[in-house]
């Protein structure tokens, strides 16, 4: 089956004080219709930059997509004219952000912001859009939608704001929803509600979700496939279930080990030793070698490539759990 979104060799960099910094290097992946793909990794591994690159929302300057293609409906999004790109944004590909507190415009009502994309992309009249906004707010589980539609963001709780944000993103029934850390800023109980909501809406609308997160718990609940990123590169791509059962990359293993367990008695939580290499450092061998407990001298001299078949890829000379 043809993927709905195909990212090929994406490289995005930023102009920093010490020269250009490559945040995402040579990243390729596919997203299929109805699939939920999670992109996971530590802070600064390039997952958010990947998401922003797809919608061409990288602030330029200082950021820039240096190389690569992003195929959507036989068009390369990186080469789209501004006007055409705008027609994709919020219409066919929508995005929800991490901070529901700051991601809504404080001076406009929630309803007006939900109506916005309907008016822009579907030429709805204000009246029709208002009615549509009420039903959208209902569908994301906001109580008293007729009243909430005319409320301002500061009158809503964090969870309600994130729901409003989702309503806004779903307004035009997009083919792809990019969710950038959708639950990170929320309380645990609200997190579960939002995840449930996303899962239900996904089943209902059969859209594809690109889920950006660092939370393996969120991945376990939503994702079909997982792309693990480390220092701007993809290091492992697997089916979600298989990844949790038998990670191939030592970094993925480390990520899974870092999830605190209730059944085992840990006095000290596990963490991956060391820290992410400075993003501008050019490293000859494997970028994870310095933190890897399995690293061999060979790893520091030869850069591993992302290898494997369509369903399972890993970037490691000595991949784990491979028979």
């Amino acid at each position: 089956m043809k993927p709905i979104l195909k990212v090929e060799n994406l490289t995005t960099s930023f102009q920093g004080e010490e020269g250009r910094v490559t945040a995402v290097r040579n990243l390729s992946f596919e997203l299929h219709k109805g699939e939920t793909l999670a992109v996971v990794g530590e802070s600064g591994c390039g997952k958010s930059v990947t998401a922003l690159s797809i919608l061409n929302l990288i602030p330029n300057p200082p950021g820039k997509i240096d190389n690569g293609c992003i195929w959507f409906e036989d068009r390369d999004l990186t080469r789209l004219r501004k006007r055409d790109m705008r027609k994709v944004r919020g219409n066919q590909i929508a995005m929800i952000f991490q901070e529901p507190m700051t991601s809504l415009n404080p001076v406009f009502t929630v309803g007006r912001q939900v109506m916005d994309s309907l008016i822009i992309h579907q030429n709805m009249t204000k009246k029709k859009a208002h009615a549509a906004a009420v039903s959208l707010l209902t569908s994301v589980g906001i109580p008293e939608p007729e009243l909430t539609v005319d409320r301002y963001p500061h009158q809503l709780s964090g969870g309600m704001r994130q729901r409003a944000m989702i309503a806004m993103a779903l307004a035009c029934r997009p083919d792809i929803l990019i969710a950038d850390e959708p639950t990170t800023a929320l309380d645990v109980t609200i997190q579960a509600q939002i995840l449930n909501l996303l899962r239900n809406l996904h089943d209902e609308m059969n859209m594809s979700i690109l889920l950006i997160t660092h939370d393996m718990g969120v991945v376990a609940q939503l994702a079909d496939h997982v792309l693990v990123m480390y220092a701007g590169e993809a290091v492992e791509y697997r089916k979600s279930k298989e990844l949790f059962k038998s990670p191939h990359h030592p970094y993925t293993e480390g990520l899974l080990k870092s999830i605190p367990s209730l059944t085992e008695d840990h006095l000290v939580l596990y963490n991956i030793p060391g820290s992410v290499p400075p993003i501008h450092a050019e490293i000859e061998g494997c970028r994870f070698a310095d933190r890897c407990s399995y690293a061999q001298p060979y790893c520091r001299e030869h850069k591993p490539e992302l290898e494997g078949d369509r369903e399972s890829k890993v970037r490691c000379h000595f991949a784990l759990n491979v028979t």
């Binding site: 994709v88 919020g90 929508a94 991601s103 809504l104 404080p106 822009i120 944000m165 806004m168």
Partner: protein
């Protein structure tokens, strides 16, 4: 909101009382005797006393103040020592020119300043931005009497397009208004620019982009509305101080407005004029500030008054 406005107006009353006391005392601290200024230094002592009583300058300063306040409640601000006309009437005559200049200068500087500020913010760090910043710096640092003279030189003397004196016709209002406008344009451009630059990096602007909102709409609707509060403050302050008269510009263009009236009053030790004018200026300043405060809540729904 009406309740809030009323409360705010009531709150200003003690402030006005203190202010009137300070002004009342201060004009009397200035060396110089109004009676002697008017009648000459070698005035006979009996006619000196009669004149002093006629002007209400007899008795202690407290007695004088109480008398003044009592009359104030009857709508009488006293009579000018110098022109012999009621102060209230004199202020009334001079309020209109001041209002024309203040409103004109504020409107002009707001339009140009906001436009320049937006333009500079959109073209941040590019030529237009740098050019506008240098231009606004020149506007800010040019004294108004100097730009007034330059404008007169060009438009009145050389081109002979506009009159340089008075406020007799709408044409005569152009040069003084432009002068006042130009001085304010600089700071307003800078306020608008920095406020916009602050807002365009906010998350909700990125959200608007992700929704497919056209860039122009983002600037003028999503960003500008949020950037408006500091701009409003700046405009309000400027308008308030212009209502207190633009003495230099009034002087250059020979316009009899409140600013010159006050300065002349101080020069003549015309106590009733100084007291009355300062009181009127203070009240208009307070009112303008109140209006600006009420506008805040119209712009930003997070600001609520209780």
């Amino acid at each position: 909101m009406l309740k809030y406005a009323l409360k705010r107006i009531l709150q200003t009353i003690p402030m006005l009382i203190v202010l009137s006391m300070v002004v009342f005392g201060m004009v009397r601290l200035i060396p110089g005797d109004p009676v002697k200024i008017m009648m000459g230094i070698d005035v006979a002592s009996d006619s000196y006393e009669i004149e002093k009583e006629r002007l209400g300058l007899n008795g202690t300063i407290v007695e004088q103040y109480v008398r003044w306040v009592e009359r104030l409640f009857d709508g009488d601000m006293g009579t000018s020592i110098f022109t012999k006309k009621p102060v209230l009437q004199e202020i009334g005559n001079r309020f209109k020119p001041t209002l024309i200049l203040a409103v004109g200068g504020t409107v002009l500087s707001s339009i140009i300043g906001i436009m320049f500020g937006l333009l500079a913010a959109i073209r941040h760090n590019r030529f237009t931005d740098h050019f506008l910043m240098v231009t606004s710096l020149i506007f800010v640092s040019t004294p108004s009497f100097f730009s007034a003279l330059i404008l007169i030189l060009i438009f009145s003397l050389q081109l002979r397009w506009l009159p340089s004196i008075g406020l007799g016709s709408w044409k005569a209002a152009i040069l003084p208004i432009v002068t006042l406008g130009l001085t304010a344009v600089g700071s307003l451009t800078r306020t608008t620019r920095s406020s916009m630059l602050d807002v365009v990096h906010q998350d909700y602007i990125r959200t608007a982009r992700a929704r497919g909102v056209p860039e122009r709409t983002i600037v003028f609707r999503d960003a500008f509305r949020n950037a408006l509060i500091p701009v409003l403050t700046s405009i309000g302050l400027r308008f308030g101080s212009l209502l207190a008269g633009a003495t230099l510009v009034e002087t250059v263009f020979s316009i009899s407005g409140l600013g010159r009236f006050l300065v002349d009053g101080v020069g003549n030790r015309d106590y009733p004029v100084v007291q009355g004018t300062v009181l009127v200026m203070a009240i208009s300043f307070v009112l303008v500030n109140l209006i600006v405060d009420l506008l805040y809540s119209a712009v930003d729904p997070r600001i609520k008054y209780s």
